[in-house]
């Protein structure tokens, strides 16, 4: 039997049929649904008078629009409220599982799926959201889909897909002390570029990856889409099983034993061939800070803002200059001299308990710098918030001058009131630094939770290891 990659194995398990040209029907196990990309899909089903194929595959949650303060008031923005109400109505009507606002299990869709054990190894997981790649950390084939595809999965439990290419990014060796999953993935994107994985499913491998906790693995897979690949994967191992065991949606008892026997095969065969291989030396990775308007525009914190004049490719140089203009940065400025106005610790990239612990350990006994206008922590789910409070992390943040908020997407994309003003500069643990992402004219620098916390304390970027 030919050696297979992890991607090959999961694909084969889910292929319902395939045409000669390779167009296949892929069976979907888990369908996560949120309020922004689903209303038009439900409407489409209704118009065509189609029913849902497998209601129990769906787990729904409002996250993008939910406010992170004053929950007792509900959503005050009428347009946002209509969207959340529409999700509630659709879920009630079809009898779908939904964690509504006010439920302690509510949170960011990519945080709650794994937290509930709704994401399991070997599954296919889809959601109308590009950061569905997060779930690949569980050796699940997980990718974002558009609204038409949301409707397609609801109606048929399948997607029309063509298999993508196999790519492997191996991070060899151990990372230095203080280097986090976020630094690893930003460094990878800096190396391969935002289109580096286009058309591929990327498997992350190597010692630095397997050493990561599930939280860290989710951070890496989360940002696969920023490298252009729809899906990222990490093999299933003991770390995976330890995380999944005992979660509400995970199999129990005999079913668990059956499942783990099957999951033992969820890794690439040793001699499997990849279409593309990239190898990165973990020792080369320093704390990362993005300086531009694309996640590939990233440097180590002790470096300087790059100079477009040094870029030989005129299109790239133009792109760099546009980015610097937008970001209000001068070429050659040392990154650790760049001051920030706001700090955002949250998003599906970095809002899990480990992230909050990392940030809290930096902040503990320190104060947010006076020059920082707002520093906020937005836990990824109600359960994480609760756990953090049980551990006293909320006190640490509040005493340092942070705001401790309710769970949701929040300032990651600023669909609710949490936004950057024009020209405001933010150290953010989210995943996109696009123009206007966190608010029109807002300037985003992507960093790890520890680096965001360090920036909060200093008022400017700094190497957290030297704090």
């Amino acid at each position: 039997m030919a050696a297979k990659t992890l991607y090959d194995k999961i694909w084969e398990l889910h292929e319902v049929r395939r045409d000669d040209d390779g167009t296949a029907l892929l069976y979907i196990d888990r369908h996560l649904v949120h309020e922004v990309t689903s209303p038009q899909a439900f409407e489409g089903l209704e118009i065509a008078q189609r029913s849902l194929w497998r209601k129990r595959s769906i787990l729904a949650v409002p996250d993008h629009n939910v406010p992170t303060t004053g929950l007792e008031l509900g959503i005050t923005d009428p347009v946002a409220r209509l969207q959340v109400d529409t999700l509630n109505q659709n879920c009630d009507k079809y009898g779908l599982t939904e964690f509504k606002m006010g439920d302690v299990r509510q949170g960011i869709v990519h945080v709650i799926g794994p937290e509930q054990g709704a994401t399991l190894p070997g599954m296919t997981v889809v959601c109308g959201d590009s950061h569905t790649s997060t779930h690949g950390a569980f050796a699940a084939l997980a990718f974002g889909i558009g609204t038409s595809e949301v409707e397609h999965v609801m109606a048929t439990q399948c997607l029309i897909q063509k298999k993508s290419k196999n790519m492997r990014v191996t991070v060899d060796g151990k990372v230095a002390e203080g280097i986090t999953a976020k630094d690893i993935v930003l460094h990878i994107i800096g190396e391969i570029g935002t289109a580096g994985g286009t058309g591929c499913t990327i498997e992350f491998a190597g010692e630095a990856i397997t050493n990561l906790s599930m939280e860290g693995r989710m951070t890496v897979c989360n940002m696969t889409i920023e490298a252009g690949a729809r899906a990222g994967l990490i093999a299933c191992d003991q770390t995976t099983l330890d995380y999944v065991r005992g979660r509400p949606f995970a199999p129990q008892g005999e079913a668990w034993e059956q499942a783990i026997t099957c999951w033992a095969d969820l890794h690439s065969d040793p001699d499997a061939v990849f279409d593309r291989e990239v190898v990165i030396d973990a020792q080369d990775i320093a704390p990362q800070v993005t300086w531009g308007t694309s996640p590939e525009m990233v440097c180590a914190v002790h470096q300087r803002v790059p100079d477009p004049a040094q870029e030989p490719d005129p299109i790239k140089a133009g792109g760099m200059q546009n980015a610097l203009d937008y970001m209000g940065l001068k070429a050659n400025t040392p990154l650790d001299q760049v001051f920030v106005d706001k700090i955002f610790i949250g998003s599906c990239t970095n809002s899990r308990i480990e992230d909050l612990r990392a940030a809290a350990s930096v902040v503990k006994g320190r104060k947010v710098a006076d020059s920082v206008k707002l520093a906020m922590v937005v836990p990824g789910s109600g359960l994480i918030k609760q756990q953090a409070e049980d551990e006293g992390l909320d006190r640490i943040f509040i005493e340092a001058g942070f705001e401790w908020r309710e769970p949701g997407c929040s300032m990651c994309l600023g669909m609710n009131a949490d936004q950057l003003g024009s020209g405001e500069r933010c150290a953010s643990t989210s995943n996109r630094n696009f123009e206007g992402r966190q608010g029109q004219g807002g300037r985003t620098h992507l960093v790890s939770p520890a680096m965001a916390a360090a920036a909060a304390v200093k008022g400017h970027f700094t190497d957290v290891r030297e704090l």
Partner: protein, 211 residues
């Protein structure tokens, strides 16, 4: 979905790589629960000088006169020309809806983000990937010839310029067939309902904990 017919239309160029979905349609407009009406907010932050909110009267906003889609004849553009990795970022299908609602029927770029590429076909928008040199050439033609028009012939998989030069493009047979015939994916998949049921049966026998 409407059938994709051969057409000749005005080309507007945005000479930037990595144009992301936040630029194509900013998040505040994603709050809509409809599929239509996004055209006025296409490239909102570039098209207008003032920040926009959903539901506002867009005729009263401050237009950015320098942005290509605000200029004649590009206000009526049906084809968009851009650089590599067009529409990277989020899965929002609103990006496709906004382009279509504005009147764009085809986008030409050296490469596209995967999700956007997929979403386009579900809505009858044609993404055409041409080599970087050809895209370079089209950009320079645009510069020297203000009202540049192109003909898009999906059937024969060619883009034709005013002087008759043809540029061939690749497209998967299945996608082409669906576009040309205006076919809805769900209807096509439903034809395989029995196959899906048979698949499920053996699947859940094999993996009973997922049942």
């Amino acid at each position: 979905m409407e059938k994709f017919e051969k057409f000749t239309g005005i080309v507007a160029g945005i000479d930037r790589p990595n144009i992301d979905t936040d630029a194509i349609i900013p998040k505040q407009y994603l709050k809509s629960i409809k599929r239509s009406g996004f055209g006025v907010n296409l490239f909102d932050a570039w098209r207008y000088l003032d920040p926009g909110e959903p539901g506002q009267d867009h005729s009263r906003r401050r237009i950015n006169p320098d942005f290509v889609l605000n200029k004649d004849p590009f206000k009526d553009a049906q084809i968009l020309l851009a650089r590599e990795n067009f529409a990277c970022g989020s899965s929002r299908e609103h990006a496709v809806w906004a382009l279509l609602d504005f009147g764009i029927k085809a986008v030409i770029a050296p490469s596209f983000a995967d999700i956007f590429y997929n979403n386009s076909f579900k809505n009858g928008l044609l993404p055409i990937a041409l080599g970087s040199e050809l895209v370079d050439q089209l950009f320079s033609e645009l510069e020297s010839n203000e009202d540049c028009q192109l003909s898009i012939d999906l059937e024969n998989q060619v883009v034709r310029n005013a002087s008759g030069t043809e540029m061939a493009f690749e497209i998967e047979e299945f996608r082409k067939y669906c576009l040309l015939n205006g076919l809805d994916d769900i209807g096509l998949t439903m034809q395989h309902a029995e196959t899906i049921k048979a698949f499920e049966q053996q699947y859940y026998e094999k993996l009973p904990w997922l049942r």
